[in-house]
């Protein structure tokens, strides 16, 4: 390699160049924009996903199943409270409140099943019935919360939580049955 020593020396003597002082800020700025674009993409996807879900009208069966599913959820909840929770201290405020909640849950479960069945079997004719039925469903929880509020802070807190849950699921089911009603009206028209 000695014969290349002169060439190697000359290569090593080439002066290094300095990058501009703005290089690091420019890179970091571009990186921050990449991140912004990434987050924007995620939000955009989420938005369109939700939009797609709400844009499609449910069929009669889908609508009925959503009611019945919610009913099954409350039924399981009610049965668990009725048969499996026995370790709560007797005569405590919580015990009384929870024991009274189980029939409420079972009642709500049956009511939602009735509404779902009505939509399934009677279709568009049951839409108004189902919508008013949902108002009753929400009212059951609100009344239950008001009654149980005398059972202490815990009962009031949990009752409020359940009422809010009922309100949100009620609005969601109402939206679903409303979309189905609109779609079936349009197809008739």
């Amino acid at each position: 390699m000695e014969k290349y020593d002169e060439i190697i020396k000359k290569i090593k003597e080439i002066n290094p160049v300095k990058p501009g002082p703005d290089l690091t800020p420019a890179i970091m700025h571009k990186i921050s924009r990449i991140n912004e674009r990434r987050y924007a993409r995620i939000w955009k996807r989420a938005f369109f996903l939700i939009k797609d879900i709400f844009a499609t009208s449910p069929t009669k069966e889908e609508c009925a199943i959503s009611f019945i599913s919610m009913g099954v959820f409350y039924l399981i909840f009610g049965l668990v409270l009725l048969f499996f929770i026995k370790t709560i201290p007797a005569n405590s405020e919580m015990n009384i409140w929870l024991k009274l909640q189980s029939p409420v849950f079972i009642l709500v479960a049956l009511w939602l099943t009735v509404l779902g069945s009505a939509v399934w079997f009677r279709g568009r004719k049951a839409v108004q019935f189902a919508r008013w039925g949902l108002v009753i469903y929400i009212l059951i929880f609100i009344v239950s919360t008001v009654v149980m509020s005398s059972g202490g802070k815990f009962a009031l807190l949990l009752g409020t939580g359940l009422s809010i849950g009922a309100l949100l699921t009620g609005i969601s089911l109402n939206f679903s049955v409303g979309k189905y009603g609109c779609a079936s009206n349009m197809s008739r028209g």
Partner: protein, 176 residues
């Protein structure tokens, strides 16, 4: 920079601490810029390619194996981008074109006047892409054969042979 510190910085960046990446940029911007500059002979292209290299590295940082040196991975990315740049611009230019490019640099660095006087940098630009990259990394940036082998993905003997051929070619050019 110590490999352990590099790995820690990379871990921080991957966890979302974006600003930590600036430390890696500061550490390696100069060698990457010099590589790009000596490969393209143009400060604008060198600037763009350096930025692109660090942005690409940031985007694919999750692929980086922390058991290896960060700068070898960065060099691999840089060389791939430089190769892509030549293909895209279809200018594996002739010696005269590249020399003219170097001399007509619109934004010369403070050292450009000196560079103009250095024939060797012009001769390097007249070489083929692969040989030029290897000679720059080995003698200008003083990387070891092992590091170059890791960067290029070639065997050690292949790297040594290519560098030897590159020197031979350069010697021929100097004789012309």
């Amino acid at each position: 920079m110590d490999q352990k510190i590099e790995a820690e910085i990379v871990a921080r960046v991957l966890k979302g601490d974006r600003q930590a990446y600036a430390m890696l940029v500061e550490e390696y911007k100069s060698p990457i810029y010099n590589l790009a500059y000596r490969m393209t002979g143009n400060s604008e292209d060198a600037d763009d390619l350096t930025q692109e290299t660090f942005i690409r590295a940031y985007q694919y940082l999750w692929r980086y194996d922390t058991g290896k040196k960060f700068f070898t991975w960065l060099y691999t990315l840089a060389l791939n981008l430089i190769r892509g740049h030549f293909k895209k611009n279809k200018y594996n230019k002739s010696s005269e074109e590249l020399s003219a490019h170097l001399l007509s640099d619109k934004n010369p660095s403070p050292e450009t006047e000196l560079i103009e006087t250095q024939e060797m940098s012009v001769y390097l630009l007249r070489m083929e892409y692969e040989s030029r990259a290897l000679l720059i990394m080995k003698y200008y940036q003083e990387l070891t054969f092992e590091e170059i082998a890791q960067i290029t993905g070639k065997s050690l003997s292949a790297v040594k042979m290519s560098i030897y051929r590159g020197l031979e070619k350069l010697k021929e050019l100097l004789r012309e």
